[in-house]
Symmetry: C2
Subunit: 299 residues, 2 copies
């Protein structure tokens, strides 16, 4: 896969995702050196101590003077102003990418604010993560056999796109390109909506008069179902707002199906219920088989 | 825990739950012998071959002539008529119990139909299971460090109750008693509602125009969230109908909370969203900690 060329890679924000990618790119030999800037000096210090980065930069502008590839890996809310800074003063960077979970909202604002630099900006989103956060939780294998979506458009520099593809391949990920809107709709359905449902369920139960019994007798199925409600509240606040329109549309579609199920239960229509449960099980079983194959690297 | 007394235990229905309990009671020495009847002759044959049971009975009535403890472990839909048969001709049984996930509906019908035998009937529900089913998937450790809810009432024979408690303790479970209605409300909230939500979500996504992309890019969080949608459709049809009222009430409570979340997203109210996400995370983290301790046998 690799042609042996090495790149100087810089991270703006070095937490779970940035740290994991930095480790993977060092391990694979893709990165000749890794530098980072983070507004949290402790995170930078920790990344240096752990050997995840070679150099801590004093500012975004200073970082951009020294790197071939710049990766923005901050929380969603900080992305917009930082990526504009990066695009306005790209330094020697051949490509600039990010890892934000919502792409459309960000991309439209960035292109308006810094049209000149937009060509080397390749919006990206690795479909991988963890309930844990912070650079100490980073893991070189986080992206192995995982997918990364890139959302270039007709203005994107093909060389910049190629370089970002090569970087993610070096981290063990499979890269796929799609349109910005398609990305946001897919992520609303598979990730943002389930998070909202899990938060809403735990919220409803935590406020129930039988709360104590509920949590005392809930078991493994409930733990799996609500795992994503243990995710970072600030991150999910920002994602919910950034992908507001796609999320609301996905939520309304879900509620239509839920209301149909409700009406079948109310009407004691066992046949209709069983049909829905059966086709859902079949779709979910197929998905789980495909995902297991993907994780074993078989697809 | 055990006083060394051994009991002859009989199962009406020998699938995942019956088979797992049979294995556990043999391993612990609680059962001197295990017999079973099942309307599926193949399941009985398999249970004999695997050494899970010692004897296959030709009928429920024949089984009841030979056992001290009778356990009904069939799918929900078959429970009512079988438990009535068992209570009408209890043979030498000192107690009769079941493992159905919904208790109120069944109990009311059974007590009406066979009031004489109702005193030795101790309704039970082990909070343990698996997406797999059938006697071949049975596991002696299935109930270890899991909870079992019993729902006796003022008419229940204390000796029968004591014997059922002792049986579950021998299988490694922690037994707790509560009222029938409380049980059904707790289970609606922690198990039945999450199943309906998972089925509804997969149903909605499977019928989406971007279905292929959705399943291609869904990842581990989605797998956990939808795992319960891989459960047996017939079993969940029956549970949904048997616990209809508690389930609908739990579903409506959830929808109120979901609608509140929706309105905050629509209004871009980040602070209100964050507050809900934060308190949900805190409740869910606490639950997960408690469950982990329980599973390690620390509570």
């Amino acid at each position: 896969m690799s042609d042996g060329t090495q790149y100087s890679v810089g991270f703006v924000g070095i937490g779970l995702i940035g740290g994991s990618l930095a480790r993977a790119l060092k391990n694979s030999g893709f990165a000749s050196s890794v530098s980072a800037w983070d507004r949290d000096a402790d995170a930078l210090e920790q990344a240096l101590k752990l050997g995840i980065i070679d150099t801590a930069s004093g500012s975004v502008a200073a970082l951009m003077q020294t790197v071939n590839i710049a990766v923005l890996a901050t929380p969603t809310i900080a992305c917009e102003s930082l990526i504009i800074d990066m695009l306005k003063e790209p330094g020697i960077a051949q490509c600039i990418t990010d890892v934000a979970s919502v792409k459309g909202d960000l991309y439209r604002r960035v292109v308006d604010a810094a049209p000149a630099g937009a060509a080397i900006y390749v919006p990206g989103h690795p479909i991988a993560g963890s309930e844990r956060s912070g650079v100490a939780a980073s893991d070189a294998a986080l992206f192995e056999h995982h997918r990364v979506i890139l959302t270039p458009d007709s203005n994107t520099d093909p060389l910049a796109l190629g370089l970002v593809q090569k970087m993610w391949a070096a981290a063990g990920a499979t890269v796929q390109c799609m349109g910005v809107e398609e990305h946001d709709n897919v992520l609303a359905a598979t990730s943002h909506l389930p998070h909202v449902l899990a938060y809403a369920l735990v919220d409803a139960l935590a406020q129930s008069p039988i709360r104590d019994d509920i949590f005392r007798f809930a078991a493994g199925g409930f733990r799996d179902f609500t795992r994503i409600a243990s995710s970072d509240p600030v991150m999910w606040r920002d994602i919910s707002l950034a992908n507001r329109d796609a999320l609301l549309s996905s939520l309304d579609g879900f509620c239509d199906h839920l209301n149909t199920l409700r009406s079948f239960i109310a009407a004691r229509d066992g046949e209709a219920l069983e049909n829905i449960f059966r086709s859902s099980k079949s779709a979910r079983d197929e998905f789980a088989r495909d995902l297991a194959m993907r994780e074993r690297g078989e697809t």
